[in-house]
C-alpha cells in the first residue's frame, strides 16, 4: 500500500511539517512531488506522534500548503554502491550529474554509516609519501589517518591538496589507490580546478566526485560528506582499495548545519553552532581508519578555511580535537611567496611517531624532526627578540638561528607545486639545514646520531661536490651569506616583520 500525503501543515525554512503520517520512521527518506511535476527528496528529522518534520534537500522554494504530494519510501537515506562509481560525478545528495546515467547498485548502504568497533580497528602505521618536505618530515601522513588542512580564504590549500593527491605514494604497493572528493559549498571555479587537475594528472578515472557548490541547497551539503564517506568505506572495506578522501570546505559544511539547526528552532551553542557540532563532525571524521581483516583504508584530508584566520573558531577548534593532528597554513609565509605556506610549529601529526623511523622511513627521522621543531621554535623566540632590540644587538648564536630560520623557510618549507621530493631527500636536506647550527645547539639528538648524520651533512655543506639540487641551492645560499652578510642581515629585519 502506498500512501500519498497531500499538502503540508507548516513550512519553515528548509523544513516542512506533515500531520497524520502513518507508520513512518525516524530518518526515513520521503519523495515530494510538486504540482508542476518536479520531484524533491526529503528526510524525516523529528517525530511527535503522527506529526513528522521533514527536511527538504532541494529547499522549500515553491512549496505551498497544498501543492505537494509526499510519499514515504520506507528507506533511510542510502547511497547506491558499485565499482562503477569510480570516475563518476555526483551532486551533493549522491545523484549522478555527469550525464552518464544512473548507477546500477550492487548494494545500498545507509549514508550515516555505523561506528567502527574500537577493538576491530588496526592502529595505522604505514606512512604515505606525499613528496612534500614539511609534511613528510615533520607531520607525516599515515594511511588511515584524518589530517585536516587549516587554511584561510585566499591561501593555497587547494593547490596543496591537489599536490598531495597527485604525488601520494604508499610505501608498499599492494591495493589500488583512489580518491573520493567531496566539494561542499565551494565556488564553481574551485570544483573545476580540482576536476581539471585530476584530469591533467591522468587520475580522473580513479576519482569519485561529489559536488555541492556554494549556491546549491544547504540540506544537500549536510549529506555530501556522508555520501562521499559511504562510497569511501565501500571502496576501502569491500573492494580493498586505499582511499584518500578530500573534503572541502568543512567550514561551509558547519555553516549549513548551523542554518539547518536554527531553522529547527534548536538552542544554539558557541557562535550559534548547534550544541552537537562536535558529535556531528566526529561522526564524519571518525569514519577514517583501517579495519582488521580488510586490506583497504580510508584516509581523510579535510580542508577548512578558518574565518578571520582564527584557530579558536569553533569549527577548527572542534576539528582539531577530533582529527589526528593538523596542517596549518600561514598567511605571512604565503605573503612571502613561500609554497606550501605550512606553519610548521602549530602543525602536527599524532600518528607519525609510530609510522616513522627504522623499518618505515629512516632511523634518524624522529630525532631530526624533533630537532627541527625545537630549533625552529627557538628561531621564533629570536625573531621576537630581534623585533625589539634589532638584529645588530643579537648574540652571535642568535644570529645563527636567524639565518637558520631563513634558510629553513626558503629551502625546506618552500618547494614547487610540482616538485616531488623523496623522503631521503627531505631528511638529508633537514640535516644540512641543521648543519648551519653549532653541534652543541642540537639538544634533541644523541651523539651517535649526530656523528652519523650531522657531521656528513656538515661536510656536504663545506665541500664543493654537493651533488643533488637541494644541497647545491643551499650551498649557494650559504656562500652568499658569507659574501655579503651585512646586506643580508639588513634585509632580514624587514622580512621578519
Amino acid at each position: 500500500m502506498i500512501l500519498d500525503y497531500i499538502g503540508v501543515k507548516d513550512i519553515n525554512g528548509p523544513l516542512i511539517v506533515l500531520d497524520d503520517v502513518q507508520d513512518a520512521f525516524f530518518e526515513e527518506v520521503v519523495g515530494i512531488r510538486l504540482d508542476d511535476g518536479s520531484i524533491r527528496q526529503g528526510r524525516i528529522v523529528q517525530m511527535e506522534g503522527n506529526r513528522a518534520v521533514i527536511q527538504v534537500f532541494e529547499g522549500t522554494r515553491g512549496i505551498s500548503l497544498t501543492n505537494t504530494r509526499t510519499r514515504l519510501t520506507g528507506r533511510p537515506m542510502e547511497m547506491p554502491l558499485s565499482p562503477e562509481l569510480l570516475g563518476r560525478v555526483f551532486d551533493g545528495s549522491g545523484r549522478p550529474i555527469d550525464g552518464l546515467g544512473n548507477i546500477f547498485p550492487v548494494k545500498r548502504a545507509n549514508v550515516n554509516g555505523t561506528p567502527i568497533n574500537p577493538v576491530s580497528r588496526i592502529y595505522p602505521k604505514n606512512y604515505i609519501n606525499t613528496g612534500v618536505s614539511t609534511i613528510d618530515t615533520l607531520m607525516t601522513l599515515i594511511r588511515g589517518q584524518k589530517l585536516p588542512i587549516f587554511s584561510g580564504s585566499g591561501m593555497k590549500h587547494n593547490e596543496l591538496a591537489v599536490q598531495i593527491a597527485r604525488q601520494s605514494r604508499i610505501s608498499d604497493e599492494n591495493g589500488e589507490f583512489a580518491i573520493v572528493f567531496a566539494a561542499m559549498g565551494v565556488k564553481n571555479d574551485v570544483a573545476d580546478y580540482f576536476r581539471r587537475s585530476f584530469s591533467e594528472s591522468g587520475i580522473l578515472q580513479r576519482v569519485v566526485m561529489f559536488q555541492n557548490l556554494a549556491n546549491d541547497p544547504i540540506i544537500e551539503r549536510i549529506l555530501t560528506p556522508r555520501c562521499a564517506l559511504t562510497v569511501a568505506e565501500y571502496l576501502a572495506f569491500e573492494l580493498g582499495m586505499h582511499i584518500l578522501v578530500i573534503m572541502t570546505d568543512m567550514t561551509a559544511y558547519a555553516e549549513a548545519l548551523r542554518e539547518f539547526s536554527s531553522s529547527k528552532g534548536e538552542i544554539p551553542g558557541r557562535k550559534g553552532y548547534p550544541g552537537y557540532l562536535y558529535s556531528d563532525l566526529a561522526s564524519l571524521y571518525e569514519r577514517a581508519g583501517m579495519v582488521k581483516g580488510k586490506t583497504g583504508s580510508v584516509t581523510q584530508l579535510p580542508i577548512l578555511t578558518m574565518p578571520n584566520d582564527d584557530v579558536t573558531h569553533p569549527v577548527p577548534d572542534l576539528t582539531g580535537y577530533i582529527t589526528e593532528g593538523q596542517i596549518v597554513l600561514d598567511r605571512s609565509l604565503d605573503g612571502q611567496g613561500i609554497y606550501p605556506p605550512v606553519a610548521v610549529l602549530p602543525s602536527l601529526s599524532r600518528l607519525m611517531k609510530d609510522g616513522i623511523g627504522k623499518g618505515y622511513t629512516r632511523e634518524d627521522h624522529s630525532a631530526l624532526s624533533n630537532q627541527l621543531f625545537a630549533s625552529y621554535a627557538k628561531v621564533m623566540d629570536v625573531r621576537s627578540l630581534a623585533s625589539v632590540i634589532g638584529e645588530e644587538e643579537l648574540s652571535p648564536d642568535d644570529k645563527k638561528y636567524l639565518e637558520f630560520g631563513k634558510l629553513f623557510e626558503s629551502h625546506f618549507v618552500n618547494q614547487g607545486p610540482s616538485e616531488n621530493r623523496s623522503i631521503e631527500q627531505s631528511l638529508d636536506l633537514g640535516w644540512e639545514l641543521l648543519a648551519t647550527l653549532p653541534r652543541g645547539a642540537l639538544d634533541r639528538v644523541d651523539d651517535q646520531m649526530l656523528d652519523q648524520y650531522y657531521e656528513p651533512a656538515k661536510k656536504r655543506l663545506s665541500t664543493d661536490n654537493a651533488k643533488d639540487r637541494a644541497s647545491q641551492v643551499l650551498w649557494d645560499h650559504v656562500n652568499k651569506i658569507g659574501e655579503d652578510s651585512e646586506e643580508e642581515s639588513g634585509n632580514g629585519g624587514g622580512e621578519n616583520e
Binding site: F26, T114, P118, G269, Y321, S366, N370, A377, I389, G440
Partner: protein, 586 residues
Amino acid sequence: MDNQDTIYGINGPVVTVRESRSFSMMEMVYVGNERLVGEVIGVSDHLTTIQVYEETTGLRPGEPIYGTGSPMNVTLGPGILDNIFDGIERPLKEIAKESGSFIARGSNIAALDESREWDVTVTVKEGDLLKGGEVYAELPETPIIRHKCMVPPGLSGTVASVKPNGKYHVNDTVVELKDEFGKMHELSLCQKWSIRTPRPVLGHLPPNIPLITGQRVIDTLFPVSKGGTAAIPGGFGTGKTMTQHQLAKWCDADIIIYVGCGERGNEMSQVLEEFSDLTDPKSGRPMTDRTVLIANTSNMPVAAREASIYTGITLGEYYRDMGYHVALMADSTSRWAEALREISGRLEEMPAEEGFPAYLPSRLAEFYERAGMVKNLNESEGSVTIIGAVSPQGSDFSEPVTQNTKRFTRCFWALDKALAYARHYPAINWMQSYSEYFSDLDPWYTEHVGNDFIQYRKRINNLLQQENKLMEIVKLIGSDVLPDDQKLIIEIARVIRVGFLQQNAFHAEDTYVPLEKQKLMMKVILYLYQKAKHLISASIPISGILQTGLFDKLVKMKYDIPNNKPEMFEDYIKEIDSTLSKIVSA
C-alpha cells in the same frame, strides 16, 4: 504491564513517551522493537523523556518501550579486567565477534563472560555473620589480581549455606545469606550497582601517600596523592593523551581504568595495542592483566559517552572496595561535559555559561568527589585516584569546564602550547600548574626519599621562578646585558628545563625514572649551580664556566645514566669539582 508504553516523539537520541506513569527517574529502559538501551531523564505528568544510548534511525512512533524497574547499572564481578567495554559496559570484543567490524545496534550481550569458569575459594562458613562489603569468596581474576566477591552494600545476615571450593560461573550461587527478616539472598560471583550512586565507605583517610608516576615534573614539582584528583587541561596537540598514556603505563596503582570518553578511535586502538605489548614493571605480566578500558569514541552515541565516566568510576570503586589502589584516567572530561550540553540542548533546558547546563559544576563535583583514600566497609583500605584530561575550547583556560574542574581537583597540570610547539614533553607549564598535596605528602617523602628531596624541590622551584622573571627582561633587552650571576640562573634553569623537566617517553631509560634518580639528578644540578655561583662571585666570567661543557653534560645525563646505576652521579660530582677547579687554577 498490560498497558504497554509506546514511543511518542523522536528527536535525535531523545525519545518521549506520553501519558505514562510507569517510569521512574534514571530508570533503565529498552526502546523499540530492537530493544535499544535507554535511560529515563525526565518525568512529568504527561511526558516522559528518555535518552537512548544507540542510534535512533529507523525508530517509529508507536514502538514499545520496556521498563526494567531499576536504574542504569553495571555488572560487577570477575572478568572486568583485561576487557574493553563501551560506555555502558557492553563488551566490545564480544560485539565484534557477533556483529563484525562495525557496531550493530541493540546487541544484548552480557557484560561479563558467563561461560567462563573461575577457580573460587569460599572464605566463609555456615553461621558466619556477614555485613555489606565483607568478602565471602576469592578467585584469581588474572595472575596478578585476586578478585574478592563482596556482599552488596546494604545487605547483611547469616550465612545459610556455602558451596565447596571449586569452579563456578559468574552467575552461579556460591553463598546463601539469610537476613534479619529471614529472607534468603543468593550471592553469586557478581552483583549489580547503579552507576550514578557512589559505593558507600566507612570513612575517608588523609591523602598522604603519593601516586608515583616516574614522570619527573609530576613526582617532584606537582605530585598527586593516591586517592587524589588531578586535571590535565590543554588545547589540542599539547599532549594530554600522551601524558595520560604515560601515567597509565607507569603509575604505581594496582588497577588502571582508562576511560576514552569521546576520543579518537585510532587512539583507542593504539592504547589497546600498546597495553597488550607492555609488560607491567612490577610483575612482568602484560599490562592488560590489571587494566580495564572503556572506549566510547566520539562517533559512538552521545548518551553513552555521558554515562562512560560513571561506568568507569563505578568499576574503580568496586576494585577499591577489595582494597586495591585504582587510578582512573578520563580522557577527556570536556567531551563528557559536551555530551551533557548536547543532551541538555535536546531537552530544551535553559542554558547557562557557554551553553552548558547550569548543573555542570554540581555534576563535575559529584564525579571528582568519588575519588579518595578510604576505609572500606570491610575495613580494608583502598583508593581511587582520578586524573581527568580537559580539552578547553580554543585553548582558553577560562572556559567553564576548565574553571569548574579547577574548583574540584587539587592538582592542576596545565599543558602549554608553546612548550608543545618546542616539543618539550610533558608540556606541563611549571608556572601555571600547582599541586595542593605538598603538605599532605611531605612526611611520606621525608620518610621514603629523604628530607633533602623536599629541599631540592624548593630550590629547583625557586630557580624556575627566578628564571621566569629574568626572561621578561631578556625578552625586552636580550640576555647579553644581564650580570653574570643572573646569566647563571638562566643557564642552570635551561639545564633544569631541558635536562630535568623534559622527559622522553620514547627513550627506554627516560620513560620512567625512579624517585631516587630524580633526587640525585636534582642534587647534581644544584651542586653545579652552587659551585658555579661560587666561582662567579669570585669574578670568574661565566663564559669560561660554560665552555667546560658541564651544563650540556648535565642536560644529557638523563640518557647517559641508567636508572639502575645511581652511583654514577658521584662521578658527575667529582667531574664538576675537578673541571671547575681547573678554571680556578687557570
